[in-house]
Amino acid sequence: MTDPSAPIALTAHLALVSSISFGGFPTVLPDVRNFVVVTHGWMTNQEFANIFAMAQSIPGPNMILMMGLLGWKVWGFPGAVASAFATFGPPCTMYFTAYRLWDRFRDAPWQRIVRLGLVPVIMGLVIASGTVMARAADTSWRAIAVTIGAAAITLATRLSPMWMLLVGGALGGLGLL
């Protein structure tokens, strides 16, 4: 494999970028690719792309899984575990601290102002990411119909999303989309 300092360099870099990955981990992916492919040459561009596609299609914590797979490439199982911790450790500490503060001041007037302003903006972003995903996934009018159908059923009923995902997967598997 690579020299012994490689896993330390990767772990330290991931801990750094996870601490500044505002807007979610995908925002720093270009930087991570640059680090592992260009700067250190631990893997090819193609290998990096394959790992990304794989992590996206496996259920579970995608980005933490993706960094684990990168870590595995560099230093086997210990590298995978170290990379995963570097990815979720620093942000989780921040989430916990921030939530504690938020909860402590739950009746403060500024919180009402933040809520009224922040929540609609963030929900606009959530709907926007749904749209961006739909544009990537919906390659035919049938796929568009599936997206609209799933959204309508979710809004109108309390049907478990699992049924909709199963039907969507089955339609795709049968070559109908």
Partner: protein, 180 residues
């Protein structure tokens, strides 16, 4: 205040194992980007009734505003709300340990072999459905604000700037929020 009292009452009674299994389910069911929000809301708000839609929207917004893989933040915050530090540990362990280990094994296995076309088709169908689920969850969480025109204008602005303007998320976040 009664709502707060109710939740405090419940906070004493939620077992750590329930937090573990709830976020294990959120993690395993959430396929692709954004799926975690769909399932976290389904389980924490609808199925278990641990928190209200308003609190859930607060938590999602808080986490979006900070760095890192945001869905993990939902586990951290709901765990902290229900049982404090130990609750966070339980929710986080449920969210990460089993799904990550399975995913790593599966990922390493799959990377050895080429993708089958039928597998790609199935994933395509799931992706189309998942996009619809995410759209609906965003709309649902926006519903409590539907009577305030300003809120809807800002939601529309942030939606439009990201979905069609292609602006970086940071610019939109820090540009829009202070305007309120």
């Amino acid at each position: 205040m009664t709502e707060v009292a109710q939740h405090q009452e419940m906070a004493r009674t939620v077992p750590l194992s329930a937090l573990f299994t709830a976020f294990l389910a959120v993690s395993l069911f959430g396929v692709g980007g954004g799926g975690g929000i769909v399932w976290a809301r389904r389980i924490a708000v609808e199925t278990r009734g641990w928190i209200s839609d308003r609190e859930f929207a607060d938590i999602v917004s808080l986490c979006q505003f900070m760095p890192g893989p945001n869905i993990v933040g939902i586990a951290v915050c709901v765990g902290a709300k229900m049982r404090g530090t130990i609750g966070t540990m339980a929710a986080l362990a449920g969210f990460l340990v089993i799904p990550w280990s399975l995913g790593l094994a599966l990922g390493l296995l799959c990377l050895e072999y080429a993708h089958l076309p039928v597998l790609r088709n199935i994933l395509g169908g799931i992706a189309a459905t998942a996009a619809g689920l995410l759209l609906a969850t965003g709309v649902r969480l926006l519903l409590p604000h539907r009577r305030r025109p300003a809120a809807l204008v800002f939601a529309a602005l942030s939606f439009g700037l990201i979905a069609f303007g292609g602006l970086p998320l940071l610019v939109v976040l820090f540009g829009l929020v202070p305007l309120r």
